[in-house]
Point group: C2
């Protein structure tokens, strides 16, 4: 495999196929998610879904096909999505009277339904979420990161006023930051997008941004406050306690299977994937040592060990493929990022132990079979923390606070720059043209500071420094 | 609401909207699944998914958009699905060189990928499943039962020989029968379809058929043995142990959100939904009695009771909408099919009890608050069993073993007929034209018997009686 340092992009593209996470779909830009990749997504999904439900949202499902005219009702929305639409013109053997777009996102159709379902302030807030596939025609596809069809969840909520809608927008942002940090071990930075980077139709857009091991940023989840834009376009109104008819304030927020790409590029190394234990399809793989009669001797104990680990809540897998050597298996599971490997041979068995190696460690350590479940859970927890710490250190080491254009240009070659900006979209464009870097966000936790724009020396606009970086 | 006896179809159509299970999508034939309806589907999904994984299948995801030419590779398949296809002709602002169909089912694209992934007998069996939306243009839509887009799972597997593929086909059929009986309390009959009712491209098709309360049959899950039809069309080959190159034998099987419609029509009554406890979004609803100060007095205890029930694993919901009367709430939850209702007023509280009524019972019974979790779990289990028993009795009472055409025609007016058939597709067509009834299946459990075709007096073809009925 190409080393990361030589060509990060080639490393990624080779790895996702070699680790059997994905394959190319027959239509340009589409992706097949293979079982090992899909299991990572399912583990992420389960965690996101739990948090969404715990915060009072209900899942629902809205149609895939949307009348083209719906998108046109919100001017910025249609402008933003038109170039990416896939359009159904024929169905049931006939040409359709009105073409249908395959949803690129569901604000419009959900807006239409909310208008029907909401009448009184008692119906608010309306807190909905949908797990779905969406289609955005992709010219430069990249597995998990940009594909013509992708899987995501999209939250859509309606509120009586701006304050309540903004609370929701930030609640979703916080939920994403926690998913990224606690499950994916990605130390994302959360903050608001500049106006030029907003979602089409949104009044404010928030994001969580992760740093990949090549120093680039990955937008990993976004949350939008729509103001009354969609409420006006779709007539989402309610009768207030005062008796007045008012427009709702709406939000939307999404996190997608792109996160799987984020996990790969945050933790992976030249040997392959490194999966955070909470997202690893197999947390522990047991490799029996010895062939023929020796294997016969070891297998029953290996099976029993796997069963004991599973009962303790650990995702354990016994690799008993008879035709493959232990060495081949070691490399295979290393490539596929399994956190902990256990070797079990006749000699280990005689000593009542197994040989443990972790995906990040160097040597092998004997582990007593009796206490294996507790010991392995400890190792898995430790690795989960270590990955977050390691990624945080990496991000911090590649984030520079800069005040001059020269330092800025240097910093964004390898990582992120914390810099002042004037807030002018044209100036953002110039920076992008010169360095490929864009403003990733106005970090929520950044201290209040004033200064001069790193590019044009005008007064800074946001009361704090922005994060700039090249992005996926 | 229209009573079932007056117009079953009107009863169903009114109920799915009134109970807030669904709404109409903007595109003809599409459906919005609202939170209460989606939760029923999620509960079903979780159970199906668990069983699919436990039997060794892996989830994966394949693209929504399929090149039109793929469908054409299997002659019967394209003939079966062509009239129902939705076709994308434009994308990314351009006309496409080759039109893409929105998947009506995924045999073709999965066949293409299996051909790539399978090379040796060691790669077999390959056991995949996908949760997805599919689109089949629907001329006579009906909520949950026939909609232009629907949600389902589709299993797709490849095997080295017919015996192994047939084992899989029947394993999936058994899985569906268990889901229907154990979770949905639907006493389905499992069996093989006659050749005229096979899936397009299948060599054998199996089904589970439920009887709805109007005596009609609902096909509730199907499992297909494809022989080598798709393997030949997509070149799914493997090297056998002998070194020979062989075609795989494939299967596919699907169960969909149509099952939610099946649950409604199997158990519902003139008062509304009757949900089997295992599929009820809320198994127990607590209605506090009294307004103003009285409510203040009762609410903390009601909250605590709900919390205790939840901790015991019961899906409990406290209905504390202040603007609605208890009577309104009783009707509302009755309509929505909640298995058990608990009323909690100041007097009940003083006596340390709550008043329980079940969705099927008549009166109210006091239940001690102390032992409420155990008592309610007992009631829920009892209702789950009772619903299956009641539906079984109903089905049996409307299933007649018939030998004459007159008895046949009478039986299929209100239910099912067990009858001999000659096996000729033309004779099936005649029966359908005369009575609207079709052969639902050759029941797996039916005793071996020979006789004369109920329609044409020719010798019976299947070695046993078929089930005939009108179907959804």
């Amino acid at each position: 495999m190409t080393p990361q340092s030589e060509d990060f992009s080639a490393w990624y593209n080779e790895l996702v196929f070699k680790a059997e996470l994905v394959d190319r779909g027959p239509v340009r830009g589409t992706m097949v998610i293979r079982p090992y990749g899909y299991r990572i997504w399912e583990l992420l999904q389960a965690d996101i879904d739990r948090r969404i439900k715990e915060t009072g949202h209900d899942n629902a499902y809205f149609p895939l096909l949307i009348p083209e005219s719906y998108l046109q009702r919100e001017a910025e929305h249609v402008e933003g999505f038109s170039p990416e639409l896939a359009v159904v013109t024929h169905a049931g053997g006939k040409e359709l009277e009105e073409p249908l777009v395959v949803r690129p996102t569901s604000e419009t159709v959900i807006g239409e339904m909310m208008a029907k379902w909401i009448s009184s302030h008692r119906d608010l807030p309306m807190l909905l979420n949908q797990w779905a596939n969406v289609v955005r025609w992709e010219m430069r596809p990249r597995m998990f990161l940009r594909t013509t069809e992708f899987l995501w969840q999209e939250g859509h909520t309606a509120h009586s006023d701006e304050a309540d809608a903004m609370r929701e927008t930030l609640l979703a942002l916080d939920l994403y930051a926690k998913v990224a940090r606690e499950i994916a071990a990605m130390p994302v930075v959360d903050g608001e997008k500049t106006p030029g980077e907003r979602f089409p139709g949104a009044q404010r857009t928030y994001t969580v941004e992760g740093m990949m091991r090549d120093g680039r940023a990955l937008q990993s989840g976004t949350s939008h406050y729509m103001g009354t834009n969609f409420a006006k376009a779709f007539n989402i109104q309610y009768t207030a306690q005062s008796g007045e008819l008012e427009y709702c304030h709406t939000t939307s927020w999404g996190m997608s299977a792109r996160m799987v790409g984020g996990v790969i590029m945050t933790h992976g190394d030249d040997k392959g994937l490194v999966l955070p234990p909470l997202l690893a399809p197999y947390q522990v793989v047991i490799v029996p040592i010895g062939r023929g009669e020796q294997a016969e001797q070891v297998l029953p104990s290996a099976r029993e060990l796997a069963e004991r680990l599973r009962r303790a809540g650990i995702r354990a897998h016994l690799d008993n493929r008879p035709q493959l050597s232990p060495g081949f298996k070691f490399n295979d599971w290393e490539l596929r990022g399994v956190p902990v490997r256990l070797e079990l041979g006749p000699r280990d068995l005689a000593e009542g132990s197994a040989l443990m190696s972790t995906r990040l460690g160097e040597g092998k350590t004997p582990v007593s079979l009796d206490s294996a479940p507790a010991r392995l859970q400890f190792e898995l927890d430790a690795m989960q923390s270590l990955l977050l710490r390691r990624a945080t250190d990496f991000r911090d080491s590649l984030t520079a606070t800069v005040n001059t254009w020269a330092d800025f240009a240097e910093a964004v070659k390898t990582g992120w720059a914390l810099a002042f900006h004037c807030g002018e979209p044209e100036c953002e464009d110039e920076i992008k043209a010169a360095t490929s870097a864009t403003p990733r966000c106005i970090p929520a936790e950044g201290p209040a500071e004033e200064g001069l724009c790193v590019r044009c020396d005008q007064k800074s606009a946001y009361g704090k420094r922005l994060i700039f970086g090249r992005a996926y």
